[in-house]
């Protein structure tokens, strides 16, 4: 018994030493670490790296290698979107930190600008959050040979709008709701999302009563909210990630605007702390979290396992967009590297395109031309989104139906104003 124990300990020591000595595979995270998407991604990623390294690392043709994470703040989500600074950081993380894989940057403007740089250095890029503009994967598809190293492992605004259409269509069938006012942050992805949603819903017979863009730093949304009220909107379609959108929700509740806020990406409202921060004024706000796993649900057997591991490590539920995709990034890289057996970028591109892995937010597969993760409403078939509603202090998943844990509710002042009843 003692001999067996000694052998096990020696082998473990050798294994650990081998991993410790093995050249690490560097994941370079170039993202805005000051916003939720950024630091949630980093937390998810670090959790995955910890799990993978403690399980032995990545098997690269028989050699076990650990992951190493290098993080640099691009500040690309600041007002004015300093793209040039983000690109400098990206270049530094590649040249100085020796990154083998790149995560980020977040803002669409920066992510699009980064495609060229990534292509020059031939680094596999995984966009785990942000870069929601459809132009990202559109650009890859149009110039495949040049931009093939970039992959998006998260949703994008066009598909998020389709999910929103589906949920809103459901509200229309059930309750006769069909009047919408759009308020978006004045950034590329939000403008695109707001425009696409407006066009699509108009075709389905909805009335789009207004469209307003607010820049980062706005401290008063009264004009837009009062316009929505005067126009008798029933849905307030919101898109953006600036912290000031919490003021919008507070004012919406204070003014008792009889329209349901639908945040098809509403950055501050994603966090578990948002309820406390708004002193409960977030109640009834609907939020699209983009990927399952960013709030607890049973999308796949891995989803709750991830949520619990995250809560154990960080003392909070997954915090919002970027968490589950940040977590999945190292696993997707590991899967591709082990199948390719090499870190050669062209071989990795082929391996990534053949990814077929059931992860935290469903089956991970990529469109071979655009490298966009394939979305589905069924987690068995593709990557599943999550839309939740704040109800009684909890983030209750209400969409897609396959993973929903509750139904959409309306604020009492809205029910009274519109005399809402199920059809």
């Amino acid at each position: 018994m003692k001999k067996i124990l000694a052998l096990v300990i020696s082998l473990s020591f050798v294994l650990l030493t081998a991993i410790a000595d093995a050249k690490p595979i560097v994941i370079g995270v170039a993202t805005d670490t000051q916003i939720l998407d950024g630091f949630a991604t980093i937390r998810g990623l670090n959790l995955a790296v910890e799990e993978i390294n403690s399980a032995g690392g990545i098997n690269v043709k028989g050699e076990k290698r650990p992951f190493k994470v290098e993080i640099m703040d691009t500040r690309d989500c600041e007002p004015g979107v300093p793209v040039s600074e983000a690109l400098l950081v990206l270049e530094k993380i590649i040249l100085d930190k020796g990154a083998d894989f790149i995560i980020g940057p977040g803002r669409s403007e920066a992510a699009l600008a980064a495609l060229g740089l990534i292509a020059n250095y031939k680094k596999i890029q995984l966009l785990t959050c942000g870069g929601l503009s459809p132009k990202f994967h559109g650009t890859i598809a149009e110039n495949y040979d040049k931009y093939k190293y970039a992959f998006r492992i998260t949703g994008e605004s066009r598909y998020m709008v389709e999910e929103a259409m589906d949920l809103l269509g459901g509200l229309n069938s059930k309750y006769g709701i069909n009047r919408m006012f759009v308020i978006v942050e004045d950034v590329a992805f939000a403008r695109a999302g707001g425009e696409i949603a407006s066009e699509n819903l108009k075709k389905k017979g909805w009335e789009i009563l207004g469209y307003e863009r607010y820049p980062a730093g706005t401290s008063d949304f009264s004009a837009g909210l009062l316009k929505a009220k005067d126009a008798k909107a029933q849905i307030l379609f919101v898109m953006g990630e600036m912290a000031e959108l919490s003021i919008l929700i507070n004012q919406w509740n204070d003014m008792k605007i009889p329209a349901l806020p639908f945040g098809n990406y509403l950055g501050p409202a994603m966090e578990p702390k948002f309820w406390q921060v708004t002193k409960g004024r977030a109640a009834y706000t609907i939020v699209n979290l983009v990927n399952a796993g960013n709030a607890p649900s049973n999308a796949t057997p891995w989803t709750m396992k991830f949520c619990k591991a995250y809560e154990k490590k960080y003392g909070t539920e997954p915090e919002g967009y970027g968490t589950s995709s940040g977590y999945m990034a190292p696993y997707i890289i590991k899967d591709a590297v082990e199948r390719a057996g090499t870190l050669d970028p062209d071989a990795l591109v082929t391996a990534m395109e053949k990814t077929n892995l059931v992860g935290v937010y469903g089956r991970v597969r990529f469109d071979p031309k655009s490298h966009q993760i394939i979305p589905q409403l069924d987690p068995e078939k593709g990557a599943v989104g999550t839309i939740f509603q704040w109800q009684d202090g909890k983030r209750v998943v209400v969409y897609p139906p396959k993973i929903a844990m509750g139904e959409v509710k309306f604020p009492p002042w809205m029910m009274e104003y519109w005399k809402i009843k199920k059809k």
């Binding site: 000051q34 863009r213 009264s222 004009a223 316009k227 912290a243 507070n250 501050p268 948002f274």
Partner: protein, 288 residues
């Protein structure tokens, strides 16, 4: 009615934000570019006292205002006094300190939407059918009280009259035995206190973040330049002009042009009346 009510509120909030900057400049002729940073610092300190030390909210407010006032005093005594009279250096020094404060707060993790201060009263009041949250009404009342208090201070107290004397004619005031440096120190400290009061009043409506520091500085400068650097009456009037102009643009044109209004106002004033609506600096050049 929406435009009138919220235009009035937003104008007064602009005035509240700008008063500290106006006071500091009018007396000391020092453009205090730390104004925005001190505003955010007040919010952060209050948050720390409240959430990390568990102190009573009222006590947190008093401690924050006192700390930031002291900081204003220190900034003048340790740095600005050495470059007083050299306008470019004054701007560089104060802006550098502002950057240091704001980036320090960013490094300390001031980010996201979760750094918030509680509102003084959670309720909604209807003014001619327009719903307004109580915190905004309280902010309007506080602004009015501050303006009145400043007026009384500068018209009926010895110290206040001394500050006015320095603001009107520094050399004549010196001849009368009023210490210019002491007055400047007091002005900067009071200006910092006013920035702190603005922060305590306005920040509970939203959240505390680093970018606000730069926004507040730009707004304060825009209001003061339009009103006339050194003129408190001008500051108040310019606050209303810019506040209502912004509200009209937001309502009838587009919300994302609100900041453009403030900056356009600065450009127009500098072209047509560089001294500002009530300012006197360049009056002679304008007449000539």
């Amino acid at each position: 009615m929406n435009i009138l009510v919220y235009g009035l509120i937003n104008s007064l909030l602009l005035v509240l934000m700008a008063l500290g900057f106006a006071l500091a400049y009018s007396v000391s002729r020092v453009p205090n570019f730390t104004h925005g940073a001190l505003y955010v610092l007040t919010g952060y300190l209050t948050w720390v006292f409240l959430n990390r030390l568990g102190l009573n909210y009222g006590l947190c407010i008093i401690l924050s205002i006192a700390s930031v006032t002291a900081m204003g005093w220190l900034i003048y005594q340790l740095t600005v006094i050495r470059v007083r009279g050299m306008p470019t250096s004054e701007i560089i020094v104060t802006f550098a300190i502002s950057l240091a404060i704001l980036e320090f707060l960013r490094w300390r993790g001031l980010r996201g939407a979760t750094y918030v201060l509680p509102v003084f009263h959670l309720s909604t009041i209807h003014i001619y059918g327009v719903p307004v949250d109580a915190q905004r009404i309280i902010a309007v009342v506080i602004t009015a009280v501050i303006v009145l208090a400043l007026w009384l201070f500068t018209h009926y107290t010895k110290v206040g009259l001394g500050l006015r004397a320095i603001a009107q004619n520094e050399r004549a005031a010196l001849l009368l035995g009023i210490d210019s440096d002491r007055a400047a120190t007091l002005a900067l400290s009071l200006g910092s206190a006013l920035a702190a009061i603005a922060a305590i009043t306005i920040l509970p409506m939203g959240n505390i973040n680093v970018a606000t520091g730069y926004d507040v500085l730009v707004s304060a400068i825009a209001v003061c330049i339009c009103g006339g650097l050194g003129s408190w009456t001008g500051t108040i009037l310019a606050g209303f002009v810019i506040g209502f102009a912004q509200m009209i643009v937001v309502y009838f044109i587009a919300p994302h042009l609100a900041m453009v209004v403030a900056l356009a106002a600065v450009i127009l004033i500098l072209i047509f009346k560089p001294s500002g609506l009530f300012g006197r600096q360049k009056e002679l050049e304008e007449r000539v």
